[in-house]
Symmetry: C2
Subunit: 236 residues, 2 copies
DNA sequence: GACTTTTTCCGAATATTTTTCGATTTTATT
DNA sequence: AATAAAATCGAAAAATATTCGGAAAAAGTC
């Protein structure tokens, strides 16, 4: 029994690590869009459009932003923009991808196979808040306009946003195995609690710039939630 | 000392109750808009517009919805609609009010002065989820389009949405006095944790109709958060 | 009840913004 | 250099939001 116990966790840990790596790689692949443009000039234009759109959408919001402004900001004609994106909506929904893959990649780089799910969770939540602070225009667009939008479901973006919470759910499952999250709780509920709390902090900051230090607030919120989950798990 | 102790809580409880009543009444007054129209016919038209707008915005989202469709649905001409609301945006931002005041009022009616803050908190969170389920078109508009919008700040709606979280913060403060919320925690952080968790549950339901039973999920989430806060407070 | 004033409503015109189209220019290929 | 493919643009069309002047309906006055 003792020998079994000493072997079981190891093999399961290996399996988990593989699962985990596969999940992260999948997520990164799904969120990475390589350009289908043939000419360099065109790929440059593509980037100019995305940059301009990020600025204009971030400033005016999707609804108020005008295609003509974005085109002007990108230094091209309005009709050229339509050569790249079929509509304003399409363009808006393309933007979150650009940074999401970068975020997922830097999260992968910030974690190692030796880390526990608890440690990974803390890093993930902390990085989410910090990334929003660093890329506030992008975050504004994602958290305040796109994430909650009714129509995300009609775009390829849906999967990428789902991936964000899928990672949390996976960590919740591992947290149950590690024993710091109660096994008899609903993992979707737990994930909602974690994601909701951190997102609320980010959204409040985006809207009111309060609390002043989002990085600090993100860390504190993340630590507090994890601590509370541990206390819950310690209950008999 | 014993007599003081028996008096102190009572007087403080009375003061709290008054504060609380004043807060709730303020909130209800702020969220109630009485029509400035002179004729009955006009007040009827006003309601028809709001109902039509709720349906169309709920179905198509603010950005895709067309004023002409709303006017047709309300059985009036497009130009008449402009007699009532200056722009599409103005109309969209007016809708949440209509139900918010009703929600606040039914919350007031569901609570009594004898209830503890803990009980009130549970009722408030539970009712929030349940109200969203009952008025899903309205909730879609509020939670998915308006609440997170960058531009709410420019409208009178801001105050009403803030009131929603103000009530939570007030209950958090009372919860600290009652002793089931740690006094050495940040009340804004605690409020964000509570509001974020419940909202995330509501938003997920609005987008995916999961979990199936929002009422049940709302109650469970509310009870769980409160229980977790109690455990946190019980820690030395 | 006829007259006047106010309020409400609508059709037609205007303004703004998105989207399409055909022609032109630039780049890659042979 | 000739040809094909890709990318760009200006001008026109389509879709939508918004304004305006006057007609219809209701309310007030004598």
């Amino acid at each position: 029994m003792a020998s079994e116990a000493s072997i079981e966790p190891v093999s399961s840990k290996t399996a988990e690590a593989t699962d985990w790596d596969r999940l992260i790689e999948d997520v990164i692949v799904r969120s990475t869009r390589e350009s289908e443009r043939k000419q360099d000039r065109s790929r440059r234009t593509e980037k100019q459009i995305l940059n301009a759109a990020l600025r204009v959408f971030g400033r005016d919001g999707i609804s108020r932003a005008r295609i003509a402004d974005i085109a002007a900001e990108a230094g091209i004609s309005t009709s050229t923009l339509y050569e790249y994106y079929a509509s304003k909506e399409d363009l808006a929904y393309e933007i979150p991808m650009t940074h999401l893959s970068e975020f997922f990649a830097s999260f992968r780089d910030a974690t190692t196979a030796e880390m526990t799910a608890r440690e990974k969770m803390l890093v993930y939540l902390t990085m989410s808040a910090d990334y929003a602070r660093e890329h506030s225009e992008w975050a504004r667009l994602l958290y305040l306009e796109i994430w909650p939008s009714v129509f995300v479901g009609e775009t390829g973006l849906q999967a990428n946003i789902d991936d964000f919470t899928r990672i949390i759910r996976h960590l919740v499952e591992q947290g149950m195995e590690e024993g710091w999250i109660r096994r008899d709780t609903n993992k979707y509920e737990t994930a909602a609690l974690i994601v909701g709390s951190v997102n609320q902090t980010i959204i409040t900051w985006l809207l009111y710039r309060k609390p002043k230090n989002l990085t600090k607030a993100g860390v504190e919120m993340a630590e507090r939630i994890i601590r509370m989950l541990e206390l819950e798990a310690a209950q008999t």
